[in-house]
Amino acid sequence: MSKRIYLDNAATTKTSPEVVEAMLPYFTEHYGNPSSIYELAGESKEAVSKAREEIARILQAKSNEIYFTAGGSEADNWALKAAFEAYKEKGNHIITTKIEHHAILHTCEYLEKRGAKITYLDVDENGVLRLEDLEKALTPETILISVMFANNEIGSIQPIKEIGMLAKEHGILFHTDAVQAFGQLPISVDELQIDMLSSSAHKINGPKGVGFLYIRKGVKIRSLIHGGAQERKRRAGTENVPGIVGYGCAARRAAETMEERTKKEAELRDYLIGRLSKEIPYCRLNGHPTMRLPNNVNMSFRFVEGESLLIMLDGYGICASSGSACTSGSLDPSHVLLAIGLPHEIAHGSLRLTLGEETTREELDYVVEKIKEIVQRLRDMSPLYEDFIKKEKA
């Protein structure tokens, strides 16, 4: 294998050398505990504040509304569980969608066992929530709407502004899982009327194991971890100082380069979608054709199974992912692909390619050639394809 082509940036990204460089001094030089009183601790404390301010500025939020966590899943868990508990008096109904990340869906299942009523909204064939469905689902007991900003598998961007308005109108909390969107799309929490927002550093060339939950001032929410006074007593435990510094740096970089980077990524995305759709018969694009994350390509190749495709791509040094059952550890393919109405066998043949800041057209040309070759090879091996061709000829 000569070269690695990494097209799984929705899974995680390479930590940028600039971010690593920013983090390093906080391991060996400025290692003080931010809660201590001597000068050494002051440096750590200041670094954490700086990162918090940086992130708040990008979201047009206040820095005391940013609560660092150990990642996106933690932020999602916290937002749902703590809101459910804090707003028990008002009601027990939560509205979400069928295409959320498992950090939301499995938390909802957990809450259902504890008395929550959850509405899982359908999405249309492009993977977008219908506002009228949301409006119809509202009840006087509804305490929370949680809808992801953009989907991690098929990239579809949700009508966040309209959801925010509707939530505000009805006095309901609005949480959004923005793990894929933060740093990729401009987000203003005030303009979009978002009350809570989850995010994760490693999706934007930051380190793994750090994220944050934005909580609008005034939102009643229970503490996640009890102990020290860190994160305004809401999430105790000594701060992950290097991680937080890394996140601050990654967020600043992502915000500064957003316009240019996402424009280039979207061009490459459309180039890749165009070539695959044109050059490989019996395939389809999953997700919205235009309202999608700038770096997300998700295609289904009929008569082909995803895991086989991934292993063969790996043989050529290409890293990608699939919604096939075999990659999920269950017998069912991705819940997102089923929610947009794909039949099982077509969902099994899905391939997600997510571009990064370093992706080049040359790399994509190579990838297209390899996908063409592999899909044909797998189809030649596929009884479904054999039957299809025989039927076509008859």
């Binding site: 389809r284 009929r302 008569f303 082909v304 199974e305 895991e307 086989s308 292993i311 063969m312 043989g315 096939s324 059952a325 075999c326 550890g329 017998l331 393919p333 109405g341 039949p343 099982h344 066998e345 077509i346 099994h348 030649d380 091996m381 596929s382 009884p383 479904l384 394809y385 054999e386």
Partner: protein
């Protein structure tokens, strides 16, 4: 997650293809679960499997188990082929991850389904062989949705 043997059979599967006018053909599995195997057998008058080919839609383990199963039954008599169990296929591949054991079962079922087809066509009874249960055509209506 796969053994070297599995990877080798997946990358270079043996006996891929069809046999025109095969003595027996068996298709098992279903597209819903993501695995379909079809085995073709060419059996001579002495009940010896002269040739065996397969086509599979499925994961790496599904392809590797099909490939290995065809290798194991080739040149064998019908009765010997009946002894090729999923265990034998797995052992020959140096094992499979637990979540992929069902692929080896599918390979055994595919061989049995092809033998059943042969037995029916020739009005013979193969000792120990039961009618295959899997039917892939239940998913046919889904094709139109595409």
């Amino acid at each position: 997650m796969y053994s070297e043997k599995v990877m080798e059979h997946f990358q270079n599967p043996r006996n891929v293809g069809e046999i025109e006018g095969a003595s027996g053909v068996g298709t098992v599995g279903n597209a819903k679960c993501g695995d379909i195997m079809r085995i073709y057998l060419d059996i001579d008058d002495d009940h010896v499997i002269r040739d065996c080919k397969f086509k599979t839609f499925g994961c790496g383990a599904a392809v590797a188990t099909s490939s290995m199963a065809t290798e194991l039954v080739k040149g064998k008599t019908i009765q010997e082929a009946m002894q090729v169990t999923n265990k034998a296929v797995m052992e020959a591949l140096d094992g499979l991850p637990p979540v992929k054991v069902h692929c080896s079962l599918l390979a055994e079922e595919a061989i049995h389904a092809a033998l059943w087809d042969y037995a029916e066509k020739n009005h013979i009874k193969i000792e120990g062989l039961e009618k295959p249960k899997a039917d892939i055509h239940e998913d046919e209506e889904e094709e139109e949705e595409y």
